[in-house]
């Protein structure tokens, strides 16, 4: 990926002690941005107020340039870092780059606009205890227009049908997670909207915490029809990913056999009428029957291609993630089950 970084971060171990945690705030600047300097100042102040050691990593997508004031700040302070894509790669790529280049053991993702109040973010970080691996904000109470609320509820309802557990505000850009979680998520395409659901699928413990919505987030936002269409496709993509990546033929076979059955019934109807002495040469229904049969076979063929790919990848992939081990005694990094011992590292196909 051709990512042109404005400033290369100097990689250095920055953890003071084992207990002290270091929060990396990753801000993907995509699609929409408020005054970033003000954003930085207010959230940084809130984190300082809680005594949380932190850094800010801004990732500018193509078409966004860092404001001069922020640029000056980043030159003064080491805890403000700016990265910039050479062209538009989108939010998921921005998050991945931010996570990769950040140093903290806790990652906080923050939209480039005021979505929740700075105080809310500190409660979110406080909610990341030993019992949770990822905490997602649930904007509540919501103070924006009824139109946006309806959109949000509709989106979350639809997603609830395909995730392991319903979420109230899955697409909220404010989330806190451990570094191991952030690095283990299969993030590609437009999957950033499903981060809590992805983490849940990976077997991490996910919590939702109510966080007050920022007054600046209250105005009505309207999107074009293309945006809604893409959201629906995102949900479909996630659904397929969640249910059928290991057995694509179950999906294609089901749809394909539906077409095939319809074609078979139509052919049967034609056959009966032919046996009754009626010619079929002038029946366009024959075209439909043949088309349905052919479509059914083609879809099953596609499913088979999927199965072949899955089968070929099988030696390199594991469907499980090890959370804990006892008496492992092996070369693993965690001899006793004290923390999340990963024997598999998630990658993407």
């Amino acid at each position: 990926m051709g990512q042109g970084a404005l400033m290369e971060p100097t990689l250095q171990p920055s953890r003071a002690g084992a207990d002290a945690r270091f929060v990396s705030v990753v801000v993907p600047v995509v699609e929409r941005a408020d005054d970033l300097t003000e954003l930085y100042r207010s959230f940084s102040a809130a984190l300082d107020g809680q005594g949380e050691e932190h850094e800010f990593v801004f990732v500018f997508d193509g078409g966004f340039a860092p404001p001069a004031e922020l640029l000056a700040l980043s030159q003064q302070r080491e805890s403000v870092r700016l990265l910039r894509f050479a062209r538009t790669f989108g939010e998921t790529a921005a998050l991945r780059l931010g996570i990769e280049r950040s140093r903290g053991d806790v990652i906080l993702t923050l939209p480039a606009y005021f979505q929740v109040t700075p105080e809310g973010v500190t409660t979110l970080i406080a909610a990341l205890t030993d019992e949770t691996d990822l905490v997602v904000a649930n904007r509540s109470p919501r103070i924006d227009s009824w139109l946006n609320r309806v959109q949000s509820v509709a989106f979350n309802r639809m997603i609830a049908g395909v995730t392991d557990r319903p979420f109230h505000d899955i697409a909220c850009g404010v989330r806190v997670m451990r570094r191991s979680v952030a690095e283990g998520l299969p993030l590609y395409g437009d999957l950033h909207r499903f981060i809590p659901a992805l983490a849940l699928r990976e077997g991490y413990r996910v919590a939702e915490v109510a966080v007050p919505q920022h007054p600046g987030n209250a105005r009505t936002r309207l999107y074009g029809p293309g945006v809604y269409a893409r959201r629906l496709l995102d949900i479909a993509a996630f659904f397929f990913l969640a249910k059928f990546t290991e057995k694509p033929l179950r999906f294609f076979g089901l749809v394909g056999s539906g077409f095939f059955a319809a074609g078979a019934i139509t052919s049967l109807v034609l056959l009966v009428s032919r046996l009754q002495g009626q010619g079929i040469a002038n029946r366009p229904l024959l075209l439909l029957a043949v088309l349905l049969l052919a479509l059914g076979v083609q879809l099953m063929g596609l499913g088979l291609v999927g199965e072949i790919i899955v089968h070929l990848r099988a030696p390199h992939r594991r469907a499980y993630r090890v959370r804990e081990r006892t008496n492992s005694g092996g070369p693993g990094p965690h001899p006793t089950g004290s923390g999340p011992a990963r024997s598999t590292s998630s990658g993407q196909a």
Partner: protein
């Protein structure tokens, strides 16, 4: 999402690993461990017992940690979430350090006292010894009949003469486990998959007990899924090294149909004066069939591309088995 496999299989220091996947089997953990240790009391080599907790929601994991605290040979692996029996077994296999691996159900329906007999059979020169449950203690209509039907079909389709594919009690050589990768719900097809890499397979009658604690996790709807999976597996294992041939075979009926419709179109055109509709229907059908056949061949080419991209790791050259 699936993870990339790393190599936790390093270091074969033991003779035997016993792997048992557990899902909501809290009450069965302690007796299971006790039975296994008792059964292996006179085992001459070194061994370990690997208990894989497949994301149980009861306190199975607490029982496992207790058991492994009591005996260093008992190792526990907790998975992040419930991933099903196949993946849980794979987790156990991946972490097993024994040169021989025995798998069994965590619900006490298999009898660990059969393990020495399985190991003895393995010593005769087999790579896989499958348990064959005698006098199954399960519900007749819901479990035994579907299982009998499924096993017959599996035998017919795969040509592997194993009576009881569903029995978890099996003994494997490490060599074999390194060559097969199970995913989705393939644990039932271990004999078939093993046969496809050239393993020597046999079976041995084993005891079977009624469930003591907990609920059975099977149902009759599985049988249909098993059959679909089996057909898929059959197609993949038959054509995995030459997908174009497979898709070409699929395309033959389409080609035949296209030829048939072409003949009908010619006959219809020569025998009587066709109307507009008649002039379209047969040639149209012929074109659709020809198009579908062409499309299937293209899919075969795409598969060849995928295969080629994976060729290096696909392990397609059948590595020779060590002669014993």
């Amino acid at each position: 999402m699936l993870g990339e496999a790393t190599a936790p299989r390093s270091g074969r220091q033991l003779d035997l690993s016993v792997v048992a996947p557990l899902y909501n089997e809290a009450q069965n953990v302690a007796p299971l461990v006790e039975w296994i240790l008792e059964a292996l009391g006179s085992y001459p080599g070194s061994f370990e017992v690997i208990l894989v907790d497949d994301g149980s929601r009861d306190d199975t994991w607490q029982r496992v940690t207790a058991a492994s605290a009591a005996d260093p040979r008992v190792r526990g692996i907790a998975l992040g979430r419930n991933v099903g029996q196949t993946a849980a077994m794979m987790a156990g296999f991946d972490h097993a350090r024994g040169g021989v691996v025995v798998s069994l159900d965590g619900d006490l329906q298999n009898d660990p006292r059969d393990i020495p007999a399985l190991l003895g059979k393995l010593e005769e020169g087999y790579d896989l010894v499958c348990g064959w449950r005698q006098r199954r203690q399960d519900k007749f209509l819901l479990r035994k009949v579907p299982s009998w039907v499924a096993n017959r079909i599996i035998r017919r389709l795969t040509g592997v003469q194993i009576t009881d594919n569903g029995c978890s009690l099996k003994a494997y050589r490490r060599d074999l486990l390194d060559r097969i990768s199970l995913y989705a719900e393939q644990h039932r097809f271990i004999p078939a998959l093993s046969a496809s890499v050239g393993a020597r397979i046999t079976e041995l009658p084993v005891r079977h007990h009624a469930r003591r604690y907990g609920e059975s996790k099977y149902g009759i709807s599985r049988t249909v899924k098993v059959l679909v999976d089996l057909l898929t597996l059959k197609m993949i294992t038959t054509f995995r090294s030459r997908p174009l041939v497979g898709f070409g075979t699929l395309a033959i009926p389409m080609v035949l149909a296209a030829v048939l419709f072409t003949v009908m179109a010619v006959v219809a055109a020569s025998e009587f004066q066709p109307s507009k509709a008649e002039a379209l229907v047969f040639p149209g059908s012929a074109l659709i069939c020809a198009g579908a056949a062409f499309y299937l061949l293209m899919l075969g080419l795409v598969s060849e591309v995928a295969l080629n991209a994976e060729r290096e790791s696909a392990n397609e050259i059948p590595t020779a088995w060590e002669v014993r």
